[in-house]
């Protein structure tokens, strides 16, 4: 559905250079620290940031050649951009009705009502959570085949985050061919939603892994210097020293569980991976 090959975008103090793929029916997560390149990647896929080199293909076509009909098949929620703050939901409903052939007015209005969004209130008077919910409802209201969600849950409380994640889940259950690209720096959101995850750091993909593998096979070993020296380091990806000892990231947790019964091994979490993979200590 989406194929990025050697996409390069160069700014004065930042260079993006990535390759990635989104297959039909897959939920792909992008994680990384602030400024890692998540939004630039997403904007390149949407064709609103032009690549300096490489190719971005969406629906088997270069993104710059997408027709209006093909763009109708993409649902987008951006973290920092949306409809004008001087419109209300009734206005947006009328606009979407004319914008998308497959727009489902009932679905849109019902979901706005379920989420407690006032249809007559101007967007500028909405809370952060309300705006985020509306952005996702807009993205899923026209039967898109590809959903692109940039930080859809950023800055929200647990309740609002769960509401948004539930909306996305329900939407995906309706049609298993639908694909999603979702970026977030809230790792638990991605752990519960995505099939695979790309880690971006300083404009490069430093790890691409199935989410299930991260949870099942990755782990962090916490050892002291003596144990570390005796440790078989074949499956250690990264190490990091701190005042309490040495942390070792492994992608073969089971090996160490079986062979080193006395060491502490924490289950793999996306947050641990981010911290370990993006740290300079080695």
């Amino acid at each position: 559905m989406v194929k990025i090959e050697n996409l390069q975008k160069n700014y004065k103090d930042f260079n993006l250079d990535i390759s990635m793929e989104i297959s039909p029916g897959r939920i792909v997560g992008i994680v990384g620290k602030n400024g890692a390149g998540k939004s630039t990647t997403i904007k390149s896929i949407l064709g609103i940031v032009k690549a300096d080199a490489g190719s971005v293909r969406v629906f088997d076509k270069d993104v710059s050649e997408l027709t209006v009909n093909e763009k109708e098949k993409i649902g987008v929620a951006l973290s920092d951009s949306g409809f004008s703050m001087y419109l209300n939901i009734n206005d947006i409903n009328k606009i979407l009705k004319k914008m998308y052939k497959e727009y489902d007015e009932k679905f849109f209005l019902d979901n706005c009502k379920k989420q407690g969004l006032d249809t007559k209130k101007l967007l500028k008077d909405f809370s952060t959570g309300m705006k985020a919910k509306l952005r996702v409802i807009v993205a899923i209201s026209h039967k898109a085949r590809l959903l692109i969600l940039d930080e859809p849950t950023a800055g929200l409380d647990v309740e609002a985050r769960n509401a948004i994640l539930d909306l996305i889940r329900k939407y995906l259950i309706e049609d298993e061919e639908r694909s999603v690209l979702i970026s977030s720096h809230i790792s638990t959101d991605l752990e519960s939603l995505s099939d695979e995850i790309y880690f971006i750091h300083k404009g490069k993909i430093i790890l691409h892994e199935e989410t299930g593998n991260i949870i099942d096979q990755y782990g962090v070993l916490k050892v002291d210097e003596n144990v570390y020296n005796k440790l078989d380091k074949e499956y250690i990806i990264k190490t990091k020293k701190d005042k309490y000892g040495i942390k070792c990231l492994t992608n073969q947790k089971q090996f160490y569980l079986e062979n080193y019964s006395d060491i502490v091994i924490e289950n793999g979490k996306i947050d641990d991976l981010i911290l370990m993979m993006t740290d300079n200590n080695n």
């Binding site: 904007k43 949407l46 609103i48 949306g82 004008s84 419109l87 206005d91 004319k98």
Partner: protein, 217 residues
């Protein structure tokens, strides 16, 4: 395209109160000012309001999302011209209507010259639109005001220079052009003006599309 027109119409309608005030001012001007001033005033007002929707799009980082909608940069640009033209012509019509009605009240029936002046206002309005839209797209709502002043200054200076030097260098040729225009029928002048306006609009649309295509959002 229809979705974008709907969006811009709804954005303009957010300023209902301002529109009402403008309408009151139009009526007052219609009574107090002589001639067709009210027609020009309304045309420019309608145009400015419509072009102001570019500012709404730009405000609060709205462009990235708008460009993900099922449109292309070319559709976005053309819609701005169509919307500005519709808004300008609707306002022009209100101005003309006010002018005629007030004329009737004052017992000054609008003549053929007034109608021609009214039509000239449409040409001026379209040329203003052709200048303002690319500037607004290139520099954004805030900087474009300064840019428009600067460009008007440069153009004004250029016109004065050409008028002075042009007569010195090519006085006879200019005189013969003026003579040719004088000999033309109203229909011929109308066609020539239409052609010039269409040409300027085509160049303006080309410039605006180029600006938008080069922009990263």
């Amino acid at each position: 395209m229809l979705g974008l027109l709907e969006k811009d119409f709804r954005l303009i309608m957010q300023r209902k109160q301002s529109l009402f005030i403008f309408l009151c001012v139009t009526i007052i001007l219609g009574f107090s000012m002589d001639g067709s001033f009210v027609v020009g005033y309304m045309s420019i007002l309608g145009l400015t309001l419509a072009i102001g929707t570019i500012g709404y799009d730009e405000f609060d980082n709205g462009y990235p999302f708008i460009m993900t909608l099922p449109i292309t940069t070319k559709i976005y640009v053309i819609e701005k011209y169509i919307f500005s033209l519709i808004s300008g012509i609707v306002s022009w019509s209100v101005g003309m209507l006010t002018f005629i009605i007030i004329g009737l009240i004052k017992n000054n029936t609008a003549g053929r010259t007034d109608l021609i002046v009214g039509i000239i206002f449409i040409a001026i309005m379209i040329i203003m639109m052709d200048i303002m839209i690319p500037i607004e797209l290139k520099f954004g709502a805030e900087k474009s005001r300064i840019a428009i002043l600067f460009i008007m200054g440069v153009v004004g200076g250029f016109v004065i220079l050409v008028a002075k030097k042009g007569i010195e260098i090519a006085g006879e040729q200019i005189q013969s052009i003026i003579e040719t225009v004088r000999k033309m029928s109203e229909f011929q002048i109308g066609m020539a003006v239409t052609l010039i306006v269409v040409l300027i609009t085509a160049i303006s649309i080309g410039l605006s599309t180029g600006i938008m295509k080069k922009t990263d959002f």
